[in-house]
Structure formats: C-alpha cells, structure tokens
Symmetry: C2
Subunit: 360 residues, 2 copies
C-alpha cells in the first residue's frame, strides 16, 4: 500500500526508482554486494556517479563550463560554503529576502564578514510575495547575488530569474530543481539539497560555473572546497554513495517521463488544479500573491483553524499524508513535488471537498 505523501522534504519519491533500488539492494549489477557496500573509488561506482552526472547534465542542459558537485551537508551547509568559496571578508553581496531560507542564507553570509545588501525584503506582506523584477538593482560591484527561487515554508516562488547584470546569480533551488526547464547559463551557482526532487537526504548538488571555482578562503572546510571537489570528481572524501545512486534512478525516471518539459507541464497542471480549487472555495484559502505561488509547496488555511488537526489526521487515514503546515505557519501544506502524480492532487481535492461538506 502506497500513500500520497505531501511531505515537504524528505519527500515522496518515484515508486519506479524505489522499486529499482529495492530489487537490487543486496546484489547490485550482479556484483554480489549492495551499491552501499562497494568502494566509491571502484570502477563500478565511479561509472554510476559519472552516469548520474551525465544524466543530470543532459536533463538540465548544464553547459560545459559548469562543474557538477555531489556534496554533503545539505543546502544549510552551502549557506556557509558559498561565502567561503566565493567571497572575501568585506566583499559586497546582494540578497533578496523572501522567507526563512533566504534569511538563513543571509545570516550565514554575515557570519563570514560579507557586506550584505538586502535589496528587497518581503516582510511587509509577511513573505507572501516576491519582489517585482525591476524593483531592485544589484550593485555591479557585488561579488555575487543570492536569492531563493522557491521558499519551501512560505510556498512562494519567483516567476522569473532576476537580472543581476554581470554579477553571478546564486540560487538555492532545493525545492524547485528539476521541476521545470531552466537556463543554467543564467546562473553562476545553483545548489539544492536532494531530499525534495532528487532523492534521499544527505546529498547536496552544486552546479557552479568554472570562473567561480578556485577562490576558496584557506579556512574553507576541505569537503566544501569547490576546486578540490571538482578536481577529485567529488571524491576528496567518501561521498554519499547511495544518494548519488538513487539520484541516478530518479533522473532515469524523469527522462522516461519526458524530461523537464514534461515535468513542468505536469507540475503546472497539478498546481493549477489545486490553486484553482482553493481559490474557488469559500472555505479554503492560500495567502500567497498570484504571481508568486509555488508549484511545489502549497500552504492553505481553512475557515475553521480549530479543525486543522482533524483535517490532517483524517487525511492521513484516507491515504493523504504529511499535510500539516510548517510549525511556523500553521494550517496545512501540500508539497507536490515531481513524484506526486496528478491523481494525488485530485485525491486531495476530493478529500478537501468532502471535509468541507462534513465540517464547513
């Protein structure tokens, strides 16, 4: 029995990828060992990691002059690693603050002595908006410009890629990567914890343009030194091998499903269905501005907030799990990443309709 799992991350994964891993969990490729048991430096696993990288490059259209790194420590680790790799103390950097994840990235940049300019802060809307393109200007003297394309907690997503001129754009794509096609060449650095659209937690993917590699401060932890990791194919130390392997399975599923264009169409259809239902409802509501709604994370409220616990527990009993809102937001949240089928969203809408009928 599989449920429709609306967890914000770690999150629902494609069943095909899980079943592929399950079938060979004790004997990978006829090796007589699990993929978890083989050396990361053996030719079998080196080939697995190379295939995973190649598939990611193919699906995302990663240009030749970008390195793909498989790191540990999650996006939170990169909050520290990015300032250490890209900037010296006192360097100016521009940030947009659109919610809790932006705020954590800003805090870490300040910790490492950067001159952080917050170019826009959506506090006035309680972080239910994104700043309009053109409403802020990135200082051309900035070493980099950082934003969070999708805020997992607030359910806020940018509808555009900010223009930072010649300043490298750094983006925390943890909860949006692989959800639709993007033009990687618009970014200097993309990073993403894997546990939403890419696999199990414990793997962080960094896609970084060559000219941003090689500037790490001496105090950078070696496992996050982009040059050292690029030169060792992310194997300066033992990488999270099972995560890389499972990412490969998930990318194969994305490819078989039609690639990122198909993912984007599917995700748009899911989001349209859910937001459309909520907006037409007199009982449920979503607080996010129309142009800033996330395709991946849909927070929603019901008119009678006293029933939130009941909603979440009855939904779980009906096979719709992990719908509790983030502890800082309340209400409910449906995360509808790539692995969530349209049928899951439809089942949620049916449940919401029934719940309102019974309680509204």
């Amino acid at each position: 029995m599989r449920v429709y799992n609306f967890s914000a991350g770690p999150a629902m994964l494609p069943l095909a990828a899980l079943e592929a891993a399950q079938s060979e969990l004790t004997d990978w490729q006829g090796s007589g060992s699990s993929v978890m048991e083989v050396s990361h430096r053996g030719k079998e696993f080196v080939a697995c990691a190379a295939e995973t990288e190649a598939l990611l490059r193919e699906l995302m259209g990663v240009p030749e002059n970008y390195r793909v790194l498989f790191l540990q420590g999650g996006a939170s680790g990169q909050f520290d690693a990015i300032p250490l790799n890209l900037a010296a103390e006192g360097d100016r950097v521009g940030f947009l603050n659109t919610g809790q994840w932006s705020a954590k990235a800003i805090k870490a940049a300040r910790k490492y002595g950067l001159d952080v300019q917050v170019l826009a802060d959506e506090a006035a809307s309680n972080y239910t908006t994104t700043p309009a393109a053109g409403s802020y200007t990135v200082d051309p003297a900035s070493t980099y410009f950082h934003y969070t394309p999708n805020e997992t907690i607030g359910g806020v997503e940018f509808g555009y890629v900010p223009d930072a001129g010649d300043v490298p754009v750094v983006a925390d794509m943890s909860s949006t990567i692989l959800s639709r096609p993007i033009d990687v060449s618009q970014f200097g650095l993309i990073y993403a914890g894997a546990q939403k659209n890419m696999g199990p937690s414990g793997l962080c993917v960094v896609i970084v343009r060559d000219d941003l590699v090689g500037h790490a401060r001496p105090s950078t932890p070696s496992i996050w030194d982009y040059r050292a990791m690029a030169e060792s194919d992310s194997m300066l130390n033992t990488p999270p091998t099972f995560g890389i392997y499972l990412l490969g399975k998930i990318l194969a599923w994305v490819k078989e499903s039609g690639g990122l264009v198909a993912m984007g169409e599917r995700n748009r259809a899911k989001a349209d269905a859910l937001y459309g239902y909520i907006d037409a409802s007199g009982y449920y509501s979503n607080p996010v501005a129309l142009d800033s709604r996330s395709w991946m994370n849909v927070p929603f409220l019901q008119a009678n907030a006293d029933l939130d616990k009941q909603f979440v527990s009855e939904a779980a009993a009906a096979g719709l799990t992990a719908l509790a809102g983030h502890r800082s937001v309340g209400g409910m949240r449906a995360s509808i990443y790539n692995a969530m089928p349209l049928e899951g969203v439809q089942a949620l809408i049916d449940f919401m309709t029934d719940f309102e009928r019974r309680n509204g």
Copy 2:
C-alpha cells in the same frame, strides 16, 4: 548470490540489516512511504532516530554526560569541525601521526591556527608501528589530544588507549568503532564515518562529552556546531535519514549477535586466523609490527608482486572481492569489518593457499 566483500569502506554490511531495509523500502512500518520519504521532524522518524541513538548508547555504554550527534561530511568533515568546536587559534594540541588519516587531521588542525605538537611520528617505520605507551607525553596545557586508533590504509591499530592525563582524548574511530568494547569515558570525543562498521556513507557519528560542547568559534559552519546540533537532536537541518535508519538496523544485528563482547571475540578470531596464516606462510607477508596490527584492515604482500592484479581478479572471480591494496601501499588488503564472517576469512585463506600452490 552474495560475495565476501573485503572493501575498506564503504564496506560489507550485515545481510540481515540489508534484507530488513529491502523488505520495507517502499512501505516503512505500514506508513505507505519509504523511510526515505518521510519528514525527519515527523514522530515516526524522530522515534527511529531516538531508538538508533539509544541502541548505540546501550551497546557502547555511552555515559549520560556524552552527547551522540548524527552529522554529515564524514570524518573528513570532522577534521575541520573538531578544531573549530574545541579550540581557539593558538591553542596547543597534541597529535600522534600514525599514517595518512592522522596526517590529514593534523593538516586541518594547522589550517585553523592551532599550535600542533606532533608527539610521535611513525615515519621511521613507514607507518607500520604505533608509538609505545609512555614513549610520549601530552602537554597538560593542551586543549585536546588527537589520535587515530585504527589507520585503515596502513592496517595499524593501537593496542591501548593513550593516557593524556586531564587533556581530552579525541579519537577518529571510523574503522574500529563497534569492533570491540571500549570505555567511552576514556575519551573526550569519538568520531566515525559510518561506512565501515555502521552503515552507508554520508553519516558521521560524533560522541562528545558535555564539557566540550558549547565552545564553537563563531565561524563554525552551523551544521557542525556541536551545541546547536545537540540542542536540536541533530536536526538543525535535514539529517541523512536513511543512514540513521540503517545504522539502527545494523545495531540491532550487533545486539542480536551478542553485542560488542561477541563482536570483539569474533573479530579477534578472524584476525588471528588471517595473520596466523600469513605469518606461517613463506609466500605472503604483513609489514605491520605484531603489537600494532589492525583487527579490521589487513594489508598483505605476496613474494611475486607482479601477480597482484592476477590475485585480485582471480579472487573476485572466486567471490572474494575488493582485495586490491590501497593505491598508496600496493599489494592486497583484506578489510574484515564486523559484517565479514569467519567463513569469509577462511575462504580467503583457502584461496590464498590455492593461489600460492598454483603460482608460488
């Protein structure tokens, strides 16, 4: 078909743990989700992590005044995190250099401005020895004392726990943890990458005494700040959930197998059998001093080194895999961690005997 896998890490895991994970990989505890798909903050996974910690505490006899942390970045990450958490710039620290992993830890401590005293360096023996107890003295003014109880590459292991007086002893136990009983109270901090005796790569266990928690430098990456991680039950950010889960399965297997006393007896028997065979052989040899031989990693040479590749490939064909020596050492290496049964060691000895008969 399962092989006897002699990989140094990632390494052979108990089949019982792998099969338990396999059976519920798409539906964990009847949740309808994989353990990889559920929130780390949900009550199910929080209970799983707590059970894993409790079992580790029980098996290792971890005293109440020690915190157990589940971190990312491996032991290599801790090479950086330990100086950042425990010491200020200029602080004196003592190290023993017994091989490549000690040397990396020393290099990282110097990177963070510590006054590193190398109290013993086994270069003269080409790192085939450990310094005798009493042959070095830890400066009582040291902030901590670091050593590597087992050097995975050289196959060198301490037969004793160094006495550092009141100076906290910090030990990289990556390749020896859980291999026998230890007295945790002799240590200030124990750390270990999981990928030898504890599970898949991507998880690092830190066991740290309370008085060493809370002194991190402001520049410490947040995911390695011991206090922040202790206060959040290692969930300041998303932990490597599958690794923690599988560690729980492996610890359950250790407990069912009789705990660390039984592991120690079993590992001693395996090591005695293999070293005994090598020492009695006129064809194979092990370079390590008798009192410093690792129970876990057994490097060995054959009289005709030209046949090393043939040995490794014929052994693999016979179901004895990953026997190539480390690239820096050459020859062969048999890593015989907890999951390797005595039958596997016996099968290796039988193969070695046959190989010598055919080629010696």
